[in-house]
């Protein structure tokens, strides 16, 4: 792939470096669940639904959050996926979601109860994990689970002295781009709750670059937070 990443200040899909793709949010997409949400950003679309809070199987002090991350076979933009669940990346993400959301969900309000989070990726065009985190937050809100704050996420990358936001699949798999740098922050306080970076190009990050792309990602998170809040208010007022 030797496509131009930046062309006269514009990216492949015509966006500027600090511009997000179009975001679409739908609440209550899955019946038979406590809460559900579909989060679409560009071509990426992720569906999350919640079962619970429900009684734990074992008598314990507090409940737990379980996450099940599935990717539909037809979600990839190139070849069909070989696995839908249980690969290394999704196992890692499931563990991350558990720790991330146990710090945000007020578990003491639902003692002895478990929350099952199911995530289904319907289309993968980059920044899936960020979209998944946003979808989970929305579905938890839709389910009425008490939260400390929004957990919003956005990805960023770095290309020839320029930080990019919300990477597409072709950008995040390009060797020229330092990617994919994923950040999740609490909506109000902008404290970082999750930070993940796995690079395929063998780039080394310098502290200046880290500062720059983190600031860029947080800027994206702010925008996502604004849109999510607006959509939720619209959904509640109707």
């Amino acid at each position: 792939m030797t496509e131009e990443i930046l062309f006269y200040g514009f990216r492949q899909d015509g966006r500027r470096p600090g511009e997000l793709r179009q975001i679409k949010i739908k609440l209550g997409v899955v019946d038979n669940s406590s809460g559900s949400a579909l989060f679409q950003i560009g071509h990426t679309s992720v569906l999350a639904f919640i079962h619970g809070p429900k009684q734990t199987k074992h008598e314990k002090e507090s409940g737990h959050i379980h996450c099940y991350f599935n990717t539909a076979y037809f979600s990839s933009s190139g070849e069909r996926r070989k696995f839908s669940k249980g690969d290394k990346k999704s196992n890692e993400f499931e563990a991350n979601v558990r720790t991330m959301f146990e710090s945000v969900v007020l578990m003491e309000n639902n003692p002895h109860s478990d929350i099952d989070i199911h995530v289904l990726v319907l289309a993968d065009d980059g920044s899936v994990e960020c979209a998944a985190i946003n979808a989970i937050t929305l579905s938890l809100i839709h389910a009425g689970v008490p939260l400390k704050d929004f957990l919003v996420s956005c990805s960023s990358g770095f290309y020839s002295g320029m930080p990019l936001i919300d990477l597409t699949y072709s950008e995040s798999t390009s060797f020229q781009v330092i990617s994919e740098y994923r950040v999740a922050v609490l909506g109000k306080s902008l404290q970082i709750a999750y930070l993940n970076y796995d690079d395929i190009g063998g780039h080394k990050l310098t502290p200046e670059v880290v500062r720059e792309i983190t600031a860029m990602a947080i800027e994206g998170c702010k925008q996502v937070h604004f849109i999510m809040k607006q959509e939720l208010q619209n959904a509640c007022s109707n």
């Binding site: 639904f49 379980h66 599935n70 539909a72 076979y73 069909r80 289904l120 065009d125």
Partner: protein
């Protein structure tokens, strides 16, 4: 449990069901095509007043054929979210039923590019969102039919160099649709207390003595029958069920293009 069962079966004797339908009418189904932008063909099925519960996406790859002049069709059915062992077994059952009744009649010769060497591999992947989905086999067959209607295959031409025996695949302009004229759909007719019932809900499925799956094509010929559940049937019952299934299939085929299906037999 027994009292609920009695309530449902008694209601069906009087042509009255819990959601107000008669025994020979269905819920309204809506099928949307092209919901997944990254797959060449996809469809999603909603039942009226509820969420989408089946999403089907297709993927195409080039592979090596198993039979000389035929392509390869691969079906997978998955339940979204956590699936228990019993769910997996049920999905395997559903998959084998769909393959036997429907995909065996798919014309695989149209997927051939170079006989014996290269062909299209068509992957049909179905995701079920609702754990308690009912009338699953009929709905999956409709979703697959719509998704296949939506599929656009790149127009290709296979070239074999006669001297060096090397093969090339040349991509032509435009796309080709998959021919699904011969593909049957599956309609399910249930027997509860010797009366035929259409489009069961999850509660009614627990009361069904037997489920008859008919696969019927556009001309109205029955291509396959499979019976589920342990109930016993008289010959007349099977024949009357077959007549009902044929009428239902005619309704479905006429409505399938509009994306909104509802049938009611008298």
């Amino acid at each position: 449990m027994q009292s609920e069962k009695k309530f449902i079966t008694d209601g069906i004797k009087q042509n009255c069901r819990c959601d107000g339908r008669g025994i020979l009418s269905s819920r309204r189904i809506k099928i949307e095509k092209g919901v997944c932008t990254l797959s060449p063909g996809s469809a999603q099925l909603n039942i009226e007043l509820s969420s989408p519960h089946i999403i089907c996406g297709c993927k195409l790859e080039i592979g090596v054929p198993e039979v000389e002049d035929e392509g390869i069709v691969n079906l997978s059915i998955e339940l979204a979210g956590k699936s228990l062992m019993t769910d997996k077994e049920r999905m395997a059952e559903v998959k084998s039923l769909i393959e036997m009744l429907m995909l065996n009649y798919f014309n695989k010769k149209q997927l051939c590019i170079i006989p014996g060497r290269k062909c299209w591999k068509l992957f049909i992947d179905v995701e079920i969102l609702d754990k308690d989905a009912s009338n699953l086999i009929e709905h999956i067959s409709l979703t697959i039919t719509s998704a296949l209607e939506d599929v656009k295959v790149l127009a290709t031409e296979g070239i074999v160099n006669k001297n060096t025996k090397e093969e090339y695949i040349e991509i032509l302009d435009g796309t080709v649709r998959i021919n699904i004229d011969e593909l049957p759909i599956i309609t399910t007719v249930a027997q509860i207390n010797t009366s035929s019932v259409l489009d069961l809900t999850a509660e009614e499925e627990g009361c069904a003595d037997s489920l008859l799956h008919f696969s019927i094509d556009k001309n109205g010929t029955i291509k396959g029958i499979i019976k589920e559940n342990p109930g016993r049937l008289a010959v007349d019952q099977v024949l009357s069920a077959a007549n009902i299934a044929k009428e239902v299939a005619a309704h479905i085929f006429s409505d399938l293009g509009t994306g909104s299906i509802k049938y009611k037999l008298s």
